[in-house]
Symmetry: C2
Subunit: 467 residues, 2 copies
Amino acid sequence: MSLTFAAFVNGLTLVLVAAATARGAAVQGADPLPSWNATAPKKAILELVARATQADGADYVPPEDRLAVFDNDGTLWSEQPLYTQVHFTLDRVKALAPAHPEWKDDPAFRAAIDGDAAALAALPAGAVVKLAAAAQAGVTTEEFDAIVLEWLAKAKSPKYGRPYTELVYQPMLELLTYLRENGFKTYIVTGGGLEFVRPWARQVYGVPPEQVIGTVFGVKYELRDGKPVLVRQPDLVFVDDKEGKPAAIHAFTGKRPVAAFGNSDGDLEMLQWTAARSGPKLSLLVHHTDAAREAAYDRASKVGKLDKALDEATRSGWTVVDMKNDWKYVFPFELPKPRSVPISERWGGTILLTDLASLPEDARECPAGCLRDAAELEAVWKRVKPGEPVPAVDFKKDLVVFARNQVVYSPIYIAAVKWMDRGAEVVTSTSRNAAPLADKASIMLAVVPRADIDFVACRGRRHPVVK
Amino acid sequence: MSLTFAAFVNGLTLVLVAAATARGAAVQGADPLPSWNATAPKKAILELVARATQADGADYVPPEDRLAVFDNDGTLWSEQPLYTQVHFTLDRVKALAPAHPEWKDDPAFRAAIDGDAAALAALPAGAVVKLAAAAQAGVTTEEFDAIVLEWLAKAKSPKYGRPYTELVYQPMLELLTYLRENGFKTYIVTGGGLEFVRPWARQVYGVPPEQVIGTVFGVKYELRDGKPVLVRQPDLVFVDDKEGKPAAIHAFTGKRPVAAFGNSDGDLEMLQWTAARSGPKLSLLVHHTDAAREAAYDRASKVGKLDKALDEATRSGWTVVDMKNDWKYVFPFELPKPRSVPISERWGGTILLTDLASLPEDARECPAGCLRDAAELEAVWKRVKPGEPVPAVDFKKDLVVFARNQVVYSPIYIAAVKWMDRGAEVVTSTSRNAAPLADKASIMLAVVPRADIDFVACRGRRHPVVK
């Protein structure tokens, strides 16, 4: 159990690192939503945040009222061809079947155990709920958390051959982070099981358990071996779908959202309720239009049917994401990976703070940047290596990058130069022996090929390699 | 409506200011729980927080797991002789009665309308719920918020003749603040109506709406004049009492609390569930033992019955507050009010930062303090008013207090000296024209009678007036 859990967490970490690298200001510049194309939805999001956070503006929303709600299936992660929780339910019913011989006499259970897709597709909604109930009843809440995590660590989507937690939408991960960085509280409001989503929502979405709202099955307070536990029951207490969504948001938060994100008719009322807020607001639908990268479906789909909500979006001028055209990347695994650029030479030294003016003007305030020609190199070299001859660099072919201390003094080393998407980033390591920056900074210069590099990125600023 | 709301908010602000002054470090020293006597419960609270927050300790609890849950009636505010929400229900049923002639034929409604205490006391629980349901159904959630606030702004407790929001427990206000200052999320988990408590919990307790859990009545999503609203229904969806409390905490937060505070058998399961947590934890019962200041009741009481939970507290070694002996003050209105001390003379000037060493040693780091004898006055006077004769101060009768800039330079003025509980505090005003502190600070000295003053308080430090 602990091994698979560790593997699961590691898997998640990798996803998050990829996401962070992709959306990080360092490589992509200051764009907080790099996986969104510069089309209407991105503009609508940026405008909402600008209005809501402008302290002296007419549309200012105090931080405690900045609530953003997200549907999960089809909005934050993929739901086609089948909801992830249905896969979980089928696997769990199969695993539990040997202990339940009576299930063989029930058509729903028989279809699940046999993996009979046609029979499953024909089941009425009540039968599906009965299966979901059976998949989670009888265990304590803590045990169920572990069961969900263990399943997610092993299970792979038949369509993509990947863990389900990799099938999250990169643009939505960026959006969650962007909203939180602007003081929004991000909630998940899912028709799926509250306790199916909670165990991993923090690691995958950055959403803590108390900000996950979902469909609720009953629990029973019991003493087991003298210890109080909550045991999960098969009775459905609350269905968090359609008109249940605004009711649940109200019950959990007592607030009306500023922004709501959904993708199906199950989200209609939540989007309507948000749209009726006074002040700035955003109701956004993700329209699955991308058969090549994910799936294209709407009015005729059984899973994630989008019909009435699409009509209302058109009528009311809501924002509709056309996944194919508005999203640069769909899944984190599509992101370009950063590669290391070879470093041919390195020179370390120190520079007086009063000599920082010898750096190119655009890079004086930055701890890293580039020297684009022989004149720029010479100006710096004279301060860093006074008396030593300026090395010959072929600036047609190569480029000099530098990195220096900015806050504390500590010998600096350029460990690597990473390249992605035409931008380079200087990766440094410094010793732990740091002292406050007094009169001088440690600095290192490194020579790299300039092919493919348009700019050196540093703290959200781009230093172009051509003046 | 807006007038009464403003009056309500103002009333609340006064309560909070009083609370802040009473618990503020300035006058009371660094004690975060000044209204708690130095008995076992206070020690248990301080010890829990110390253990949970010690980063390298074995019992460290990460901030995201620091959950503290508080019952409301009888734990945060007074519930005797009758729950506040019952007063609200009776008032509201009376107000609505003219529109409901059919109520006259129902014994429960008739008792409520007639204010028949004996008949009301004899009602079965179901009838009380029926009244509560009638008092809140049919209006939108926004309208109900306004109705609750309007009622609270006008209503007064028949026993105390004060607004109900003044009948909160001062030691518990301090405890809420203290826990939050140590990274705990404080939740209210009340058997009362979720929406009866939410509208005012932030102002009175500092608890935002999303951290109030309570008994839930249904809502219905409707379009009224084309606008979506949630309309309150008479059906009871969830009773947040007894075994419902752990279930609700789980549903709302997905976490097990580190600390739980209750006062009656309705809190037993919540306290048990918390006590069974691994790691540091605190289950605390408030035992109402103070007939003189509030009320004395437990096993025989109909309201706030404390019987089984008291037995379990004894058996399991939980912390039990003996209100009479463990609480220095019960209500905020009992707190001593600070009074102004007359100032007989003031001298303003500047002092070089290099001359701050002329101040008494204990006050050199502080922006305020006192000069206790002629020698201490002379040492400072020579720096502030070089060449001017040292004024004659009768240090048997009087004391010199001072205040100075510490961060920015700005002419300083001692506006008042406040006294409470044997401590004095220097109240200053400064001009808005501030510049970074460079070579000198603005300083003012003031002469006050030393009678009743044991120390001058500043930033949690006490400067004694006798060396």
